[in-house]
Structure formats: structure tokens, C-alpha cells
Amino acid sequence: MTSAEARQLRNASTAVAVVFALIVLAALGWPAVLAFAVWGLIVAAIHALYFQIQADDLRSLEARRRSGSSAWREEGDESEAMERYMALPRFRSFWQLLLLGGAAVLMGWLLWRAWRMPVAEASTASLQLGIVLSIAVAVLLSLLGRYAVVLGAKLETADLNGVAQLARFSFWVGGALAASLGILLYAQRDLRVVTGRTLVLITAALVLDALVRAMLRSYRPATARKASGPVGDSLLLALFLRRSNPWDEVSTRMEGALGVKLGDTWAFRFLRRAFAPLVLASLLLAWLATAATVVPVGHAGVRVERGRFVSPPVGPGWHWSAPWPFASIELVPTKRVDEILLGFERDTGQPILWAERHYEGEKNILVGDGDELLTIAVPVHYRIHDPLAYLMTTSDARATLQHLAYRELLRVTSARDSFAIMTDQRADVSATLRTGLQRAVDAHGLGLEIVWVGLRDIHPPVAVTPSFQDVISAEEERQTMIELARAYAARALPEAKQEAGRMRATAEAAGEERTLAASGEALRFRQLAGAQKAQPDVFRSRLRLEALEAALAGRRKIVVATDKPPRITMDARRKTEVGSDGEGEGDE
């Protein structure tokens, strides 16, 4: 291959990738654009690199051959160049796998996201442009594939088979995109999602194919391993894109890749002959299978015969109907109890504590005279009671029930006082809510039965809760203060009683003592009086002298024992002086 040819091919690949990205932009939106652009660019880059290096090698080989240098040297150079030639593709095929895998994963992720996005309102002009571009690129790719085949034949190499296959695959992808856009534009059927998912699956299969082959290669003999396969070669693509019988193709391919001759086995020969009938028969069977429906436990089956819902519904078990599209049996889970929750958007799973946020998006409802707010969590359990009505009345029974339940909740709570709702009217509120909701559901003929309505959690808004809790604290404090005062009373009164008792006892004892002492003294007096009656003078003298002894002993005294009394000077501060002019004796 010449360098000019290589450049041509490289440029073509790059152009294809860019244009490809543009089509996808028109058809699928941004995420898919990005994915396909990445994929296309990677493929283009790999091929460009591969052809460039290969072409350089060949060119240098050619140049040396033409220069006519010595034989041994020429041989050495040639083998060296050959070695490099053999080594490079193998190395690149590893990177190719890695990049393809990464691109496929990225593309898959982006496409799944695109699939979940609501279908954008695509304008007619952009759709038409997309179709034209898709077709143009498909044609371009088809030409590229042909070119690669011709080039491969001219160079007598199988290395370009892979490129040809990828080009042809991309041609089909472009065709599919154009078709899906056309269907969207003219038949208002959105097949973009299906197309996108199919492409993801095929790419994933290609990557898997390449990986498996890379793994199997290591089981082959060293010489076969060295001769690396052409880039982009794929069993799967070969299976679907070759014109000959696909099983023959698989057989030769497997032989080439694994060294096993499948074509000689009995099973393979049978498969080859029975292929077409088998495919037809299985398609027919698949269609007939739509006539049988198994209604699982807890469900009811509603027969739909030429678009009409047939009453009565059938119970669980095996049921026959005409095959699709003439009739079908739609399954409705009639026994399953579902739940909707009013009052908040999402349950965080936290404990339900009033002062902490336990639900996300809690809604406050106005009660009282519009002066009070309450947060209420109401679970409503319901089940489908009439499957026909359920299918015919509304498309989203769950959302409908949610709307109706909010309305009933407002009706039940708006004329009540918040404390009444929180306390004694709870049961009444939930019962009224249930009957009211059932009536509203029946009025629309939704075919639902309200099984249970509960008031899981009613509390004042989180911001007010501390105040509510403070009231409880205050009540407790009131009780505490009273209890403390009672404790004081319980301590003080017995103490007083004890004190009083002591005082009484002391007084009684003292009184008794006084009386007894008096009695004792009286007795003593009587005794003495009795005694002195016998000899009053002697008795009295004794007593008197005893008294004098007691009174005078140890006292300062002056005894005047003269007839002429001395002058006595009394000075309280000094010793008493007795004048010496008179007779007498001082006794101190």
C-alpha cells in the first residue's frame, strides 16, 4: 500500500466519524452524539495510525530493495523490518480493545440516560436534515467498505477485512438511524430509544467478541499467535454481513481463529441445513405463544378482545386467548395492597422525632381558623377492586388517588382545631378520611378500594416544636416546684412536732421536779419542826451556831470585845484600819 492510499483511507475514516457524529446530533440529542463521536473518532484514529505505520514499513522495505545493497545486509534489514511489522499490530490491537471497551461503556451509559430523558419535541426541519445526512453517510460508508475490499485484494492482504466489515456495519447503523427518524417524522412513532438500545447492545457484543478472540489467541501455537489478525475483524460482523450461508462463514472463521474444523461435525451439518426452517418455526411458535397467558397469584386477567375489555376478569391460572394482536390478557394485581403517603415527599427513614426533620418536603396544613399549622403524615392503603374500571378510568390510578386524598384531607382537617386533631379526634379524622376518599374514588369509578387510612404522625411544624416541648417542660417544672415545697413541708412539720414534744416534756419534767422538790423540803421542814418541839432552845441554839459558823467562817470580821468601842475607818479600797488608841484586837 502506498502512503497516498493510506492517507486517503485515513482521511475518509475521519470524515466518516465526524459526519456520523453530526447525524446522531440531529437524531438522538447530546449524550448520544458525544458517545458516537467518541466511538467514531477512536475507530478512525486507530485505523489511521495502523495504516500509516504499516505503509511506512512497507515503503522503507521497498526503498531498501530498490537501492540494491549487499545481500546479507539486505536480509538483516528486511528481517528487522518484518519483526517490527509483526510486533506493532499486536500491540495496537490491545489498545484498540481497551479503547473500544471504554468507549462502549461510556456510550452505553450516555444512551441509557438519553433513554430515560423525556422525548424532546424535535422540529421537522432538523429531522429532515438528519435523514438526509444519515443516508449520505450510509452511502459514503458503503463506498468506503467497497474501497477497502478492493484495496485488500490489490495488496493481497486480509488485513483490510476488518475495516470493510466495520464500514459495512456502520452503513447499516446509518440506515437504521435514517429509518427511525423517518418513522418519527411521518408516522409519529418514536423508535429512537429502541434504535439507541440496539446499537448499544451490538457495540457491547462487538467488544465482547474482540475480547474473547484476544483471549483465545493465547491458546494457539506461537507462529499463529504472532501473525496478528486484522484490526476490527469480528466473528459477529462476519456472520451478519457476508453474503454466503452464515454457518459456513462461522465454520471457516472458527477454523481460522481456533484451529477447529467445525464444518466436519455432524451437528454442524444438521444446523446448516435446518437453519432457515428452524428460524421460521421458532418465529411462528413465538407468535402462537402470545395466545397463552399465565395469570399469577394475586392478579386478575382482563381479556382484551379486539380492543374491548371483556367482563368478567379471569382469576389466576392458565388462560387461552386469540394470539396477538387479536386478543390479549392484561394482568392487574388485584390482591396487592399498595400505599400512598400524604404530607411529605420522601421518607428519610430517620426516627420520627418532632424536633428533627424526619421527612423531606413536609407539607404544613392550615387548621383551626387558619391560624395554626400542622404537619401530618397519612399513609393510605388501597387495592384494585374492579380491574375493568381500573383499566378504563384513568392512566395513573396512584397519582389520581394522591390528588383525591389530599383534597379529602383538606376537607376533613380544615374545620378542626389543631389540638383536637392531635388528640381525641384522631380516630374520627382517619375514619372520615377513609369514607370520604372511598366516596371520591367511587364518584370517578376508579375501581379502587381504600383498605386503610392512618394518621401515622401528626405534629406541629418542626420550627414550633421546641415551643410545644417547652410547654411540657413548664408543666413538669410546675410539678417539680410543688413537689419540692411538699418535701419542705414533709421535713419541717415533723421537726416542729419534735420540737414541740421536747418542749412539753421538758416543761412537764421541770414542773414535776419543782413539785417534788417542794414536797421534799416540806417534809424536811416538818421533820425539823417535829424535832425542835422536844428541846426548842437547844435545837435552836445549835442551828443558830451552825448558821453562824457557816456564815462567819473565812469572812473578814472585826470583833469588838472592849467596852470602849474603837474608831473604825471603812475604806472599800483599803484594808480596814483600826485605831490603836483603844484597846482591842484586830482579827482579819
Partner: protein
């Protein structure tokens, strides 16, 4: 023809039959309406279920519409009541397609229809609310609450317009909640807090009062108890004092003269203490012996 050729022809025929059938027939389900258009011109409106034939696309194409009720919530909008209070009243709308052809011509798709109905309902809701007081939305007096009337008024305002313009029947307009704007909600919360704290203060004051009362009563009781004991003690003492006096008097009355004598001696003992200086007559009883005489005898 070989066996393979037979099979191939059969397969091709089968695929062709299926394709032709798929392109020329369509089904109308009981819960949907279909309008068949030929090159964009509506030719048939099918509301009854069944299998129907048509020319293949692109000559004739099928437009399907869900004939069931659709519920959606109108966009949140603040409105003013008659007594000039701002309220947010979210409402839901239940509607279904009543005239498929008009629906196709005027709105064409459910999201489009919802947007149009939303405008009608929101405007009607604001009109209806302006005729009612706030107290008619939320009130503890059940007879004052006029939510049902408001809903009916909205339906009455919206239904003819929706039917004539969009081919849509309004089955119900329901008020889901009555809410206040954020700022007003804050005030309500503050008011609730104030109301609660009033109770808290009341309970605390009650507690203090009751406790003080109990303490005061206790103190009073104790004082009375001690005073009674004191009274008893005094009385007891007085009584025993009296008893003692009586006993003394009884005993002394038996020999008053001797009692006086003994009492005088006792008084003498008590009166003369360590600081007393006595000047005594040497002729007195024990001292007369100091003069060496026998004395005149101990008289007295």
C-alpha cells in the same frame, strides 16, 4: 422447485403478509380514541373499540388519544381572597378528551392540553377566590367552609371554555391544600410559638405560686405547733410553781415561827459572803468567850 426454495418462498410470503397486515389494520382499544387522517386530513373518528382497516402509511395515519381521565396539578399560584389575604391554593384538574377531533386540531397532545387547561384553571381559580373570605377556606365552624362552592365555581368558569376550545371535558377541579406564602407562614409559626410560650409561662407561675403556698402553710403550721407547745410548757411550769408554793405554805403554816427562824438562818448564810466585813460585838454568842468570862450565857 427445491425444498429450500419452498421454504424461502414461504418465509418471504409470511413476512410480506405480516407487513401488509401491520400496515393496513389498526386496533382501537376501549380506553382510547383514534382519529384516522389521510394525508393530514381527518377522515374518521373512532371511539368504539375494534379492529379497523386503513390505507398504509404514508397515505393514512393513525392518531391515538387516551380516552381516560387525566389528573394533574395546576401550577402553584398565589392568589388574593376577598378580605385581601394572600393564599396559595394548589388545585388538581381531572379532565378527559370529549371531542377527539377538536382536541387534535386545537392542542394535539396531552402536555400541550395540560398547559392550556392550566392557564384556564389558574385564572378561574383566582377569580373564584377573590369572591370568598379567608375564613371561608379554613374555619373551625364547619358551615363557614366554602371549599366545595369554590371548586364548583372554578369548574363552571372553565368547563365551557375547555369544551369549546379544546374538546376537553373537565370532570373535577379539587382544592388540595390551603397554604400561606412563606413570609406569612413564618408569622403563623411565630404566633404559634408565642401562644405556646404563654402556656409555658402560666404553668411555671402556677408552680411557683403553689409551691409558695405550701411553704407558707407549712411555716404557719410549725409556728402554731411550737407556740402551743410553749403555752403548754408555761402552763405546766406555773402549775407546778403553784403546787410547790401550796406545799410550802401548808408545811410552814404548821409552825410559822420556826419557819421564820430557819429562814432567817438560811438568809444569814446566804447574805454573808466572802466580801462581807463584819463588825461584831464581843459580847455576842460565840465571841464572849474571847473575854475569858463564861459570859452571861447564851441568851436569845
Amino acid at each position: 422447485m427445491s425444498r429450500t426454495m419452498w421454504i424461502r418462498s414461504a418465509a418471504v410470503l409470511a413476512v410480506a403478509v405480516v407487513l401488509i397486515l401491520a400496515m393496513t389494520t389498526f386496533q382501537v382499544r376501549q380506553n382510547e380514541n383514534v382519529i384516522l387522517t389521510r394525508f393530514g386530513k381527518p377522515v374518521r373518528v373512532l371511539v368504539e373499540p375494534g379492529l379497523h382497516g386503513k390505507w398504509p402509511w404514508p397515505i393514512e395515519s393513525v392518531n391515538r388519544f387516551d380516552a381516560r381521565l387525566d389528573f394533574f396539578e395546576a401550577r402553584l399560584a398565589e392568589a388574593l381572597t376577598k378580605d385581601k389575604r394572600n393564599v396559595i391554593v394548589p388545585v388538581f384538574v381531572a379532565w378527559r378528551i370529549a371531542d377527539p377531533l377538536r382536541f387534535l386540531e386545537s392542542v394535539g397532545s396531552v402536555p400541550n392540553a395540560r398547559a392550556k387547561i392550566d392557564s384556564l384553571v389558574t385564572s378561574a381559580k383566582n377569580t373564584a377566590l377573590a369572591a370568598f373570605d379567608y375564613g371561608q377556606l379554613v374555619s373551625t365552624n364547619r358551615d363557614n367552609v366554602k371549599l366545595g362552592e369554590i371548586e364548583q365555581q372554578i369548574v363552571a368558569l372553565v368547563a365551557p371554555q375547555a369544551r369549546d376550545s379544546f374538546g376537553v371535558a373537565i370532570a373535577q377541579v379539587g382544592i388540595k391544600r390551603v397554604a400561606l406564602p412563606e413570609a406569612n407562614t413564618e408569622s403563623v409559626l411565630k404566633r404559634m410559638q408565642a401562644e405556646r410560650s404563654q402556656f409555658a409561662a402560666k404553668y411555671r407561675a402556677e408552680g411557683r405560686q403553689a409551691a409558695d403556698e405550701i411553704r407558707a402553710r407549712t411555716d404557719a403550721e410549725r409556728t402554731v405547733m411550737l407556740a402551743k407547745a410553749q403555752k403548754f410548757a408555761e402552763e405546766t411550769r406555773g402549775k407546778s410553781e403553784a403546787d410547790a408554793a401550796r406545799i410550802y405554805a401548808e408545811a410552814h403554816a404548821e409552825d410559822p415561827e420556826f419557819y421564820r427562824f430557819l429562814r432567817e438562818l438560811e438568809a444569814l448564810r446566804k447574805v454573808v459572803d466572802a466580801n462581807t466585813t463584819l463588825v461584831l460585838d464581843g459580847d455576842a454568842a460565840p465571841f464572849r468567850h474571847l473575854r475569858g468570862a463564861d459570859g452571861k450565857g447564851d441568851d436569845e
